[in-house]
Amino acid sequence: MRLLQRFYLVEVLSGLALTAAHFFRNMGLHLAHALGRKTARGAVTIQYPEERRPYSPRLRSLHRLVRREDGSPRCVACMMCETVCPARCIYIVAAEHPNPEIEKVPARFDIDLGKCVFCGYCVEACPEDAIRMDTGILEFSSYSRDGMIYTKEMLLALEPAGRDGRPTSPVPIPADRRP
């Protein structure tokens, strides 16, 4: 430690000068912003619910079940995803599909998001490309564990995220959070 540093004062003053410089620069930018120069930004803050940073296209967000043209799930209830899921949070009940060319269809397809670790293995495992994690939806919460279970109907209704990574379909609200 240099002798000068032992006396605190000089170092303290240089530190104060640094933070004060930030303060006055940002204050000036805020003022310019308030006076109409909208490009002047005094803070790096992203005001979250209204503003979002762009999401990467690789982002693993809420699952969705891909629909066929007639609106029925593309999933053939092969149980691959249920088998591979490390969190064991997928629950499928298979049923006969009316079309004989298609083997099966899920009667129930529940994902317990309270357990899901968002590893994306289910997407990788699916032979039909029937499950994807590209909705861009990240906000799901509920007051109970049951509220975290997303059913087939909820997952089928979701759309892929837009080009900017923003969700295009509304966030499904679990039953216990509906007003």
Binding site: L16, T19, H22, G42, A43, T45, Q47
Partner: protein
Amino acid sequence: MSAADLGIAFGRVAFVMLFVLNLGGLLTWVERKQSAIMQDRIGANRASIFGFRLLGLFHPLADAIKMLTKEDFRPARADPFLFGLAPFVSVFCALVAFASIPFGDVLRVAGREIPLQAVTLNVGILYVFAMLSLGVYGVMMAGWSSANNFALLGGQRAAALMISAEIAIGASIMGVVMIYGSLNMMDIVRAQGRLFWGWLPAWGIVTQPLAFVLFLTAGIAATKRIPFDTPEGESEIIGYFIEYSGMKFGMFAMADFLETVVIAGMTTALFLGGWQVPYLVPDGFRFPWGGAVALPHLLVTLLQVGAFVVKVCAMIFVMMLIRWTLPRFRYDQAMRLGWLGLFPLSILNIVVTGIGLLLWGGRA
């Protein structure tokens, strides 16, 4: 004492009380916003009334509502009386400490002379220190009565820190007292109105620069805020108020803010010329380069009070800047700084001031 006198006395006290209390409350907002702007953030801005956010000015209000409606918990083995009394002692002492700090010169209205000061005391400085030091009793009481070892340690630390800070504060203002020759705050401020060489105001920061640094450092230590927050020690979970909740906790936080205001007021009065505006004499401005502007008495008084408020706010800004810039001292470092740094330096300051006064014979 006539009704008018009573009214005047009440008005003086009310002005100081409202000034200190409001400023103290506002400091929660200042702290949030100033720290945010220093760190390139925006800061709390979500509290709104009817959609109006007003730069987050409603957050102090929301804080108060939250604290008043929270559970007021008292540990089973805590001393009920002392536990309840402690926050009040803290806030009370911080509040009344401002009383003898003058915020303006004598105001003359309708043949009356009103000193702009809540109470006129011949030993004003000592009074402020007495009250500041008494404040630590609240903290110690809180630590002791909580029946919690960590709280007790926090109270202990507060006492130790307060003693080391108090001594440095007392010794560092000795130089000021020597130069201006009075313990009366009003006289000290008035004496700072003189000019050196006809242009340099004889403010305390000019005559006693070392004492200013020492006083400010010790004063910040006395407020128990970062970098001297060892009594609260949030990062060590030692703190005299760890058992407090709700508004009682809020009162301790408020006492810290009020002490910040008091220290800022003290620094202003002792080192920044108090209500003095450079070159403003009782009948207007008189500039060293010859110009003069005559002003009515009322305007002069208004300017002085305004100058005092501005200086106090500037000091608070500086103290907040320090609080959000420096990392905290460890307990032993704070003690070492107090006893081996501030205290000897303030003694040295007294000696140097004495020699200076001897050589230049009290020309200041």
